[in-house]
Amino acid sequence: MNNDLIHVCLADDDADDRLFFTEAFDSIKIKTAITVVNDGVELMDFLNNDENSKPHILFLDLNMPRKSGMECLSEIKQDSRFNNIAVAIYSTSASDRDIEDAFVKGANVYIRKPNDFEELKRILNEVIALNWQYHTSGLNRENFVLSI
């Protein structure tokens, strides 16, 4: 893994949150290449363009205008071109029911977004390292469920 770059895609409509995440990605040990999109519509345009290489993992804000994180999740799960992309949903607040619902609809990871930068770094590091294990250790991605 030491030489491999993890391709991450981040979809968030809030500029501050985008900065919060991209800075956290830049400061973790694992090297990532990030594609940032500003909302769900842009995300689906990016994914549907076969000229773009598919990300290993997608970080999706739950609340976005035009197309929400859950709507994107449903579209992604119904298209076999996206079978190998892990989906991490995040939001500031979530009930157990929201979280379970996102998993049922096919999300792999649910992140309760912290306010603390160090905490975000720890979470992103854990999510990406774990996703990489699923990617490289022959684990069954359908059973990849993490609530953090």
């Binding site: 893994m1 030491n2 040990k29 694992i30 119904q78 979280i99 379970e100 998993f103 049922v104 609809k105 096919g106 649910y110 590091n125 390292a129 774990l130 990489w132 294990q133 250790s137 022959g138 684990l139 069954n140 359908e142 059973n143 469920v145 993490l146 609530s147 953090i148």
Partner: protein
């Protein structure tokens, strides 16, 4: 109708390797899980073709020495966790050091350096993944699963499951069941 299948990873990989190597006309000997000796010289073209065919099954040829040892560590852990009966009663650190013929300190540091996670957390991950398979087979109770995977009791198993995945074993079972129902519904709508 729905059927659930279970499989022997070791037998499955061995069979695929044999078929692919035979089809490529290569002389070989399977030494151990994940280790093959190629008995004649492999041309670059043949190797490329072999890598391509194996790639379709998610099998990769591992290149550098560190990665080879890390792969051996992973294989040993997978084998250890997936043993049907008689999970090794030795401590896993002793088991791995003996099996791989290196000090545990050495393999542990190397593993962390290459994978960014510790051997301990990889073992836990593999055990929890095995637990998930067993849960989805619906044949064993959580108590039976916890004994099968060497947990001292079901509470310890549930706690480690929750710490690793963020959800309880029963929530996991419920989520996957609902997810499968949803997939069936969507397929019916699309047809």
């Amino acid at each position: 109708m729905k059927v659930y299948v279970k499989f022997d990873i070791n037998a499955l990989c061995r069979k695929i390797l044999q078929e692919q190597l035979d089809a490529s006309g290569i002389n070989y000997r399977i030494i151990a899980f994940g280790e093959i000796e190629i008995l004649d010289k492999l041309s670059a073209e043949k190797q490329r073709k072999l890598e391509e065919h194996l790639g379709e099954y998610g099998i990769q040829i591992v290149e550098n020495q560190k990665n080879i040892l890390v792969q051996k560590i992973k294989d040993a852990i997978v084998e250890m966790v997936n043993q049907e009966e008689n999970q090794p009663s030795l401590k896993s650190s002793v088991y791995l050091a003996e099996k791989l013929n290196h000090s545990y300190n050495y393999i542990s540091n190397l593993f962390s350096e290459v994978t960014y996670s510790s051997i301990e957390s990889f073992i836990i991950l593999q055990k929890i993944e095995r637990a998930k398979q067993l849960i989805l087979m619906n044949e064993l109770t959580f108590t039976e699963i916890s004994y099968k995977l060497n947990y001292c009791n079901v509470a310890h198993f549930s706690t480690q499951f929750k710490n690793t995945t963020g959800i309880t074993p029963s929530a996991f079972q419920r989520i996957i069941k609902k997810r499968r129902e949803l997939q069936v519904q969507e397929q019916m709508q699309n047809n």
